[in-house]
Structure formats: C-alpha cells, structure tokens
C-alpha cells in the first residue's frame, strides 16, 4: 500500500522539479549580473556556467521520470540519489539567493515578477524523495561478471580518466583559477550535488563496486594509471599556479590523513595529537635545511633530511604510543591530546631554539633538482608548466608512497592483527597477537609517515611554524579520515580533498569552516559512521543493514553540505 504511492509521488516530484527548474529563480540583479539570468537559459552553450544548476535539475528530473517507470534493480537507491542530488542543488541555490541576494523578495514576487522557481524545485525534490522512501529497501546490487583482462584494463582506464575529468571539472566548477567569483560557492555545491547524484545512481547499479572490485583484481595496473592521472593534472584546465598550490596542499594532508588512518582506521586507536608528528617532521627538516633561522647551520640533501624527519617523528610516535601498553580507549585519546598540546606549547616557546617560537623558522630554502627550483615554472619541450608543479609531483610521489605503505601493511599479517585489535583486543591477544608491540608499531608507522609529510610541507611552505600544528589541525585530519571512511585509502584522500577544497571553493564561508567540521563529525557519527567510502567489509555490513531499513545511506553525503550552506546563508 505504501509502495503503491511511490510511483505516482516520485513521478509527480520529478515533473514538479523540471517545472521548477524552468521557472525564474530570482528577481534581482546581483553585482555584475542577474543571478541567474531570468530570461535566458544557457543550457548547452555554457554547461558549467551560471545557470548550470538548471541543466542539472532538468537532467535529474528527467532521470527521475525515467527510473520511476523503467524497471531497474534497487530503485529506492536510484531515486534516493536523484532526489537528494536535486534537493541539494535547489536548497543551496535557494539559500544563496535568499541569503546573499537580498532576502525573501528575491525568491518570491518582488518587482511584480514571480520567481518561485527555487521553491517549486525544493518542493519537487521533497516529493520525489518522499516517494522514493516509500519503496521497499533492497540489497546492494552486485555485478559479478568478469571480463578478459584487456577489457577490464580498458574499463579501468576509462573509469580513471572519467574520474580525472570529474575532479578537474569539480575544481573549476563555475569559476577558474581562484578568481574571486561571487557565485563560485553555490555553483560548486550545485555541481557537487549533481556529481553526488550521479555517483549514487552508479552505486545503486553496482557499477562503483564492480569497478572497485576490478581495480582490486588489477592493483598494480590501477596504481600506475592512478599515478599517471595524477601526473596528468597539471596539463589539464587546473594546470595553473593557484591549483597547483591547492592540490599540493591537499596531497600533503591526504598523505598525513592516510598515516592517521593506520592508527585510527586499522588499529582503532584514537590519536588526537597526530598533527604534532607532522610538526616534528617539519621542524626537523627545517633545521636541516640550512635556513638562516635554524638551530643547526647545515644543509642536508632533502632526501636525507626527509628520512631524518620520518625517523625522529617515528621515535616520538613510539614514545607517545607506549602508554597504549597500559592505557586503553578514551584514556589513550587523552594521552595523545595531551602530547599534542605539549608539543604546541613547547614549540611555541622555541625549546632549545629548535622551533623558532612565534617567529617560526622562515625562509626554508626552495628545493632544487638538477638546477630546477621547485617553485619556478619549468618548461618541458616548449610546454610551459605552471609554477610549483615540481612540488606537486613530489607530493604525488609522497602520496603514492604512503598509499603503498598503507595498502601493503593492511593486506598482511600485521594489518590483520591491527584490525583484530580494533575489533576485539582481548580476543586478539588470546589468539597470540602481541597487542602491545603492534599498537606501538601502528603509532610508529603513522608518525613516520606524518613526519615525512611534514618535511615536504615545510619546504613547500618555506616556513615551519608551531601555528600550523594546533589541535584544530588534528581535528581536521581526523574529520578527513572519518568523513572519507575509516580504514580505506580512497576514503582518506576524498576526506582530505573535501575538507581542504571546500574551504577554497566556499571562500565566502571560510569563516564557517570549523563550524562545518564540528557539525560534520556529529552528523557522520550519527548517520553514517562508516564514512562516505566504507571499508569493503563494512560495506557488506551496510548492505545488510539497508535491507532492514537501518541506514540512511546517501543522506550523509548531501546533508552536511546542505546544512553548511544553510548555516552560511543564515
């Protein structure tokens, strides 16, 4: 009986959505132009331009109608994804117009022009969603077919190239190279919602799982292609100084987040002072870089300094981890938090002249390789590459290294033991796992990776300051790991990317960054504790829960975004 309502509701919702998209959305003119143009619908001449959200809504609406009537498996997930994507777009734009664009007048009928478009679209997506939730839950679709190796390689290649395209388009959605564009926030969020809907539908069809299983089968090939894709980024539309810096920063934090993922995601040890290890690495590298303000006036080759950073950070990791022998769970979290605070205090006070105190250690020399300064814009065979591209490559290398460490350890005797400790420490011990040693090893490995990342970070920024390694950074990293999905590499990368790209794209909301993090932590723990990209194991669990109607699935993807937008608009 409930299910009978699903079809008419989602069909009506989709139609209303399309109508809403076609209606005028605003009656005012903002800064340099109307938002978006009331009369013209630039559908296909500028698909990523100002009125792009209308295009997305039209597509989502049509998809809604099609999938309402065409028999597909797992219809509920398909329609839910479409509905949430549409809701995200309409709410974001509604809030933006109402918030930044002059209040309710802009979305109703000021100046005698009715402009209910956004409201109609919100209603449409709500009806669509309501209809979708009437459907019976289904287990996750699994595509089991295996193809010949060359076909799988081609599919993987296509998937990764599509991913690359998606990423660069996401970065430049609605604006280019960080030019201050007042619309960049809502356009970016609209695009993100649309991409989220697309991925949600693919997920419902089992395509994402299929591809990820495939990449699991061809791990080496996938890694090579992934690295090639990463190397290709500077040659795409984001190949400029601005995005090189941003992506390099994302890379450093992604590498650190993957390191933290070993400690938190695999071994289940909550580390709240993790960024301190990155700081230790940065200060060690700074002191060995020959910077004028450094305590040691020696300049070691970067590779030596980086290894030293990793080792020193690793030793500290072992020291900080050693209470794990006696202290469990929450108390361990406090020990690490206290350590992080001690590190901040001590480096703020310039202990032993090693940290430069509040002056930091500035002017860390730029790296150079074969005479090429890393900050310069090199020219390769007549092709002008953006500045900082060499740092970008270095950081790609760093991320690849960290992924290698994480992936190999996870799929080994040691990784299994870590997961066993996370699941049930007493039983792990009873099965012969030397839990103390392994927990310290987890801390040490994570700290070493953070130390390495810190060394790169110091050179990239050309300065090492205690201020970069405060508690908030630890929280951000933790949020990245949890948001992305504990225990997975793509999760940590996605988490780091979201948490460090969003503030760039949403610069007018930059002030709300931490507010959003805090809220995101709460919302994720409540609705999707396994994160956006769940571990393979946990994924299976989820599919299980979904059939009993427990999980809220896709909501968590869009909800924080929508809520953040709401906060920002308020």
């Amino acid at each position: 009986m409930k299910t009978a309502m699903a079809r008419p509701l989602s069909a009506i919702g989709s139609v209303v959505l399309i109508i809403g998209a076609l209606l005028p959305w605003a009656t005012f003119v903002l800064n340099d132009g109307p938002y978006p143009d009331k009369a013209t619908l630039e559908f296909f001449d500028a698909p990523f331009g100002l009125s792009s959200f209308r295009l997305y809504l039209e597509i989502l609406g049509l998809a809604g109608i099609v999938f309402t009537f065409v028999p597909v498996r797992d219809k509920i997930r398909v329609l839910k994804s479409i509905g949430w994507g549409a809701a995200g777009i309409s709410v974001v734009n509604l809030l933006f117009i109402a918030g930044d664009g002059g209040g309710l007048g802009a979305i109703t009928a000021a100046d005698g022009v009715p402009a209910f478009g956004s409201i109609v679209a919100v209603v449409g997506s709500a009806v669509l969603l309501f209809g979708a939730y009437q459907l019976p839950p289904e287990p996750l679709t699994v595509i089991d077919s295996k193809l010949p190796w060359w076909a799988e390689w081609l599919i993987l290649l296509a998937a990764f190239v599509a991913l690359l395209f998606l990423i660069t388009e996401t970065l430049t959605a609605g604006g280019h190279s960080g030019v201050s564009d007042p619309y960049i926030g809502p356009l970016f969020l609209s695009y993100l919602s649309a991409v989220g809907a697309l991925l949600g539908v693919l997920h419902a069809f089992g395509v994402t799982e299929w591809i990820s299983d495939m990449s699991e089968r061809h791990r080496v090939f996938s890694i090579v292609v992934l690295v090639l894709c990463a190397v290709a980024v500077p040659f795409t539309s984001v190949g400029n100084d601005y995005w090189m810096t941003i992506t390099a920063n994302i890379g450093v934090y992604a590498a650190t987040a993957i390191g933290l993922n070993i400690v938190v995601g695999l071994a289940g040890l909550l580390d709240l002072g993790y960024v301190a290890f990155m700081g230790i690495g940065a200060f060690v590298a700074a002191n060995l870089s020959g910077a004028v303000a450094a305590e040691f006036h020696i300049q070691l080759p970067f590779i030596v300094a980086a290894i030293a950073s990793g080792i020193v950070a690793g030793v500290f990791g072992a020291v900080v981890g050693s209470p794990t022998l006696r202290v469990r769970g929450d108390y361990l979290a406090i020990v690490t938090l206290a350590f992080g605070e001690i590190f901040v205090r001590v480096s703020q006070n310039n202990i032993g002249g090693l940290t430069g105190g509040s002056n930091a250690i500035p002017n860390i020399p730029d790296l150079s390789l074969f005479g090429a300064q890393f900050n310069d814009a090199p020219t390769i065979g007549g092709l002008q590459l953006p500045g900082g591209v060499l740092y970008y490559f270095l950081i790609v290398l760093l991320v690849a290294l960290v992924m290698f460490v994480f992936g190999n350890l996870k799929n080994s005797r040691i990784g299994r033991a870590w997961i066993a400790i996370r699941e049930d420490e007493d039983v792990a011990r009873a099965m012969g796992v030397k839990t103390g040693k392994l927990k310290i090893l987890a801390f040490m490995t994570g700290a070493t990776l953070a130390g390495l990342a810190g060394a790169v970070f110091a050179h990239k920024l050309a300065t090492a300051s205690y201020d970069s390694f405060q508690f908030n950074q630890s929280v951000t990293l933790l949020a990245a790991v949890i948001l992305g999905g504990m225990g997975t590499i793509p999760g940590a990368v996605l988490g780091a990317a979201l948490l460090f790209v969003l503030p760039e794209e949403l610069r007018q909301f930059k002030d709300y960054r931490l507010l959003f993090f805090g809220l995101a932590l709460v919302v994720i723990m409540r609705f999707r504790p396994q994160g956006l990209i769940a571990d393979r194991h946990r994924r299976a669990e989820l599919a299980d829960e979904d059939t009993t109607g427990e999980s809220l699935d896709d909501t968590a993807i869009k909800e924080p975004v929508a809520v953040a937008a709401k906060e920002a608009g308020a």
Binding site: A428, R429, A430, G432
Partner: protein
C-alpha cells in the same frame, strides 16, 4: 607419560574471595577431558588460568612439563588455543580472515616483509591461506570464506571459532561451552567434530552444561563445585557418584537417575 596439560593445585583469589581452591587437572595427549559444574562454580575462571589470562594466586599450570607463560599471547604461541563461551569472532572480518588471524602466531613475516611483499612474504601468505582453507573445509565452512563472520548462522560461528583456534596449531584446545544454544542435530555435529579434532592429535578440554554431551564425549570428567574439585574420573565413575548427583544436579536422585538412564539408552541406540 607426562600429561600434555597439567594444573597443579590452582587457586585463584579475587579480593579475598576464593574463586578456585586447589583445583588439579591432568590432560593426557590425544584425550578429551570434560569440565562440568553448576553456574558460578569457577569453570570459566579455571579456563582463564589455563589460557594465561589469569595468573593463579597459588599453584601452577604446566604445558608439556613447562610452566605456562604469563601472557595470553605467549600461551597461544606455546600451544594452547581456546574458544569463548559467548562467541567472540572479529565481526567485520571475513570468515577466511578470522582463520588467518588465528594463523598469526605461526607466520613469521615482520614489519619490513609485510611492507614490501617480497617473494618470501607471498609464499608465507599463500601457505597460510592454504592452511586456513584446509581448516575451514575441516570444520565444514569451505563455501563461505568470503562472508563476514557476523553474518554466519549461530552454529557456523561456533565452528568458525574452532577453526580459528585450530589455526594456531595448538597442542591443547579449550572449548568453552561449544554446544550452548545448539539443537540436537548441531550438537551431534559438534560432537563428531570434536572427535575428529582429537583424532588429529589435539588434546581437548571442554566446559559444558549439557551433561549428556559431556558423558558421551569425554575420556575423563572433572566436576567443579564452588571452586573446588568434587569428583574426577571416567564418565561412568562420575555419573555414578552420588555426590555429583546431589551437589551438581541438585535434583531428587530418582529424577536424575531417570535422566541418566535416558542418557545410557541414548548411547546404546
């Protein structure tokens, strides 16, 4: 011949309260020993002493003549494996991974080897997988190795726990209520499984409530009451002992007699 596992006058005191008083137990190689007793008799405490989770207040536990190490991990390494009364698998690991984890102590790859996945690592990993699959087939879980352990039916979870324990190549296997919550068919399957484990040369200690199960399974049976060893002997001796009937079963003798009669008939048929 020295017993493979021997408890000598083990006592355990918690905050002035004696949970165990001078309990002794001998387990000969290739035998099955049962441990029964009413709730709170100290069976699980005794088990924890045998697995190194508790260090006895007085007395000692010998494995093949040597004192048991003080740490559960080392005890497992030395050759004592156990299962848990309330099944404790690693819920979000697959069936195969659970067994592989049991293989942990018998694998030698250190951090560096695990990091670089060299040829030796791959050989070791492949051997462990083979052994794990062999054990899964042995307990009858050959077809579900990629399932999450938490999704298995109850009886299969019990069997998986046994496979995980066997993966440590134990000399002694301790089973804590292996048939709790099972129906008669499953109980019978469990009995056969334990016999087969015994036949591979592993000595077994079983805690159980189900006296019928114990009497038809074990070579020797010990009865614990209020932390003390009441009776020790063959199933027939224990079954016939009036003290057991009174202290453990706590029922009028006639009723118990009838029950025991039923057990004997069940055996014959």
């Amino acid at each position: 011949m020295t017993p493979v596992l021997q408890a000598r006058d083990v006592s355990m005191v918690f905050g002035g309260l004696a949970a165990l008083k001078n309990v002794s137990l001998d387990l000969d190689e290739g035998k099955i020993v049962g441990l029964i007793g009413p709730n709170g008799a100290g069976k699980t405490t005794f088990f924890n002493c045998l697995t190194g989770l508790y260090t006895p207040t007085t007395g000692q536990v010998l494995l093949k003549g040597d004192p048991l190490p003080g740490d559960p991990a080392a005890v497992t390494d030395a050759g004592v494996a156990r299962t848990f009364q309330n099944i404790r698998l690693f819920p979000s690991m697959t069936v195969l991974e659970n067994v592989l984890l049991g293989r942990h102590v018998r694998m030698k790859q250190g951090p560096l080897s695990s990091l670089f996945h060299g040829p030796a690592f791959r050989r070791g990993e492949a051997a462990a997988r083979d052994r794990a699959r062999e054990l899964l087939a042995f307990v009858g879980l050959g077809k579900v190795e990629d399932e999450l352990s938490r999704n298995l039916p109850y009886g299969d979870q019990r069997r998986l726990e046994i496979a995980r324990a066997l993966a440590t190549d134990p000399a002694v296997l301790l089973l804590d209520e292996p048939t709790a919550g099972m129906n008669p068919q499953e109980t019978e399957a469990a009995r056969q499984l334990i016999f087969r484990i015994r036949d591979t040369g592993v000595s077994v200690v079983v805690i159980e409530h189900d006296t019928k199960f114990i009497f038809t399974l074990c070579d020797r049976v010990s009865v614990l009451v209020q932390g003390e060893l009441l009776v020790e002997g063959t199933p027939d001796e224990v079954r016939g002992d009036p003290r057991v009937v009174e202290a453990y079963l706590g029922k009028p003798p006639e009723e118990v007699e009838a029950e025991l009669q039923a057990v004997q008939e069940g055996e014959q048929s």
